[in-house]
Amino acid sequence: MAEHEGLLAAAAWLVWIVPFAAALTMPALKRWQGRVPGWAAIAGAAASALLAASLLPGALAGGEVHAQTSWIAAVGLEAGVLADPLAVIMSNVVAWISLLIVIYATGYMRGDPHIVRFWFWIMFFVGSMQLIVLSDNLLQMFFGWEGVGLASYALIGFWYRDKKKDHVGTEGRTVLGMLDYYAPTHAGMKAFIMTKIGDVMMLAGMFLIFAYAGTFGFRELVGDTAWAEAMGAQGLLVPALVLLFGGAIGKSAQFPLNEWLLEAMTGPTAVSALIHAATMVKAGVFLVARLGPIAFALGASGLLADQFFEVVAWVGAITALLLASQGMVNPEIKKVLAYSTGSQIGYMMMAFGVAGLSEQFVDGYTAGFYHLISHAMFKASLFMAAGSLLHVVGSRFMTDMGGLRRHMRKTYAFVWAAGLALMGAPFITTGFWSKDAIFASVFESGSEWAMPIFAIAVVTAVITAFYTTRMIGMVFFGPKSEHVRKLESEGHGIHEAPLSMWVPYGVLAAVTIAIGVMGLAFEESLHHLFGGYLEESFGIHSPHGEGEHPALPAPLSGLNPVALGASLAAFGVGIGLGYAFYVGRWIDPARFVASNPVFRGMHAVLLSRWYINAAIYWCFVVSPLWLARGVFRYFERTAIDAGMNTGLERAVGWAARVVQGAQTGITQSYLYVFGAGLLLVALMLLM
């Protein structure tokens, strides 16, 4: 058995080492451009995925693998892998989706001259992501955390030449004087720096905990709660946790650090699918999933971290609504999906937050994680499909599409499947079940904030259904746009994407539906798994009776009627409105907005991203630069440079001229000074 465990530990190490190794071999493959790097990437991703899968049986049985090795011995830190059920499931999600996206990217990126760089960063990303998932301590996790950030930076700015077609936003449009039009390199930088703000908070939180606990390890933090008591006594426990959550805010693009995600869409679409939809942005959620139980388990010692969970819940709720609302009006398909991503992650945060506020921690926890999994699948699928559309149409604007359903039937079908999951179409999509679980856990949490958050969740669901329908309608229905007609007249007819591209998102769409069909059972087994996990590892006992876990899904038996009703209603209203505007085209949306100053104003606000982006630019880019320029001009240049260099030079020169002026060359004056000096010295001595 020990040997077996050793093998599993090795597998856990290799899950993240293999992609890194694959990344490092990439530069060596430069000589064989073309397909070889792609195959190598697929091999690496597949190996990683298989290794991850090998961990799955043990994890599903509730086991965990924990292995450590010496690292920074001088500070007594060790590196390690922790493959508990949470990590293993996450790891598998990451690994398999990455594999699919890598396959997709071999088609999507075909012929790119910088393909080696692309694969390097993709594999680097996968490795870093797995490192986050499998680390057994915060510091090591932070390596992965920054690694994914780095990969994200590099890949957002992948097309570093800043060509016009690689920008996002509408050229020339300004919001509060800030250009709403971003080049890839700018976007990469923005993403990196904004997430860095989160990372800085996370570091601060980590350090606070380390200062009291003397460890970064997740396991060690659970065992002994003396550190938490000490911190609680100083009132530092909640701040530390909130600071840690700051990292999650940054990485998962939650309010108020949400703005980078939209510009991240300048990267190749495969990247958007992988990093900015399926995996990296989930890292924040994963972090909360890692920390949530630790914080909640402290409740047993009487250290309630309620405020932390409140912050999580509210940040999630606000983000969900804020981003979803903007998704209703944006004309760019990838940006709509990006808004949707942020919004959906808000749901997950909301779930984890209310989980901590309720007795039923497991419910919210499971709901959030379930949503994470389902969202990873359908959003990756949607992004890849969007990539195909971009690929074919050559424009990121939905207004340049239209009427494509006849030309791209497979894509059309898969987008509907994944889109329905996003909308939460009842009973057959994963999205429905996971969202419903969130609704239910929010509703049942019993927190004082339950109702407002629930209301926000429902409104957001309506909006989600609406913008998804809008997207499908604008892309596939209606008349062909001028752009498409122009393309056709030039002989570039609209056609289906190549095999390597549509298969991955087809698979994901299919899996979405497949799991959706038996969604409740899936949820129950997840619930069971996490229930056991939380009980065993953290001692969190949930008062649900064990008897409530039937082997087979008794349809709707475990569902909350209010939540279910709200969910259904939201779906209906949203899709109905969307259908009316964009599929059936009974009402012209432009005229509708123009009809009423309130609508006009709202439209403007939404399109201007609630002015948050512009405000951030004003406060954190323009003003500091302005300040720095002022200091540079009026302090550095004048006081320091001129004052100390030139000023000293001048002062000395002036003094020299004075002294030299006294040296007239005339002996009498010299002698006069001599005499006066003599007198002076005499008097000085006598005084």
């Binding site: 007239t664 060359g665 005339i666 002996t667 009498q668 002698l671 006069y672």
Partner: protein, 101 residues
Amino acid sequence: MTNELVDFTLVSVALLCVGIYGLAVKRNALRMLFAVEIVINAANLNLVAFARFVPDSGGQTLALFSIAVAAAEVAVGLALIIVAYRMYRDIDVAKFGTLRG
């Protein structure tokens, strides 16, 4: 000996000051030489006066040395003035002012 030491000293101080005044004011090199001589003589007077009142032979000895040295000095000084005169046809020290600053 009826005179007080202080009287001689005062005369000496007066001469010293006159000498310094002459050096500080006069531009004629020869007059400056005069002034130097006056100062030296003031010093000698002082020396001999103290020697008388101490009394000791050392003061007088030094006065003798001082007179001899003054002679040597004057010789050199006059030679320098003559050289200057040959060059400039003038002995106005204020005109020897090329070195300055």
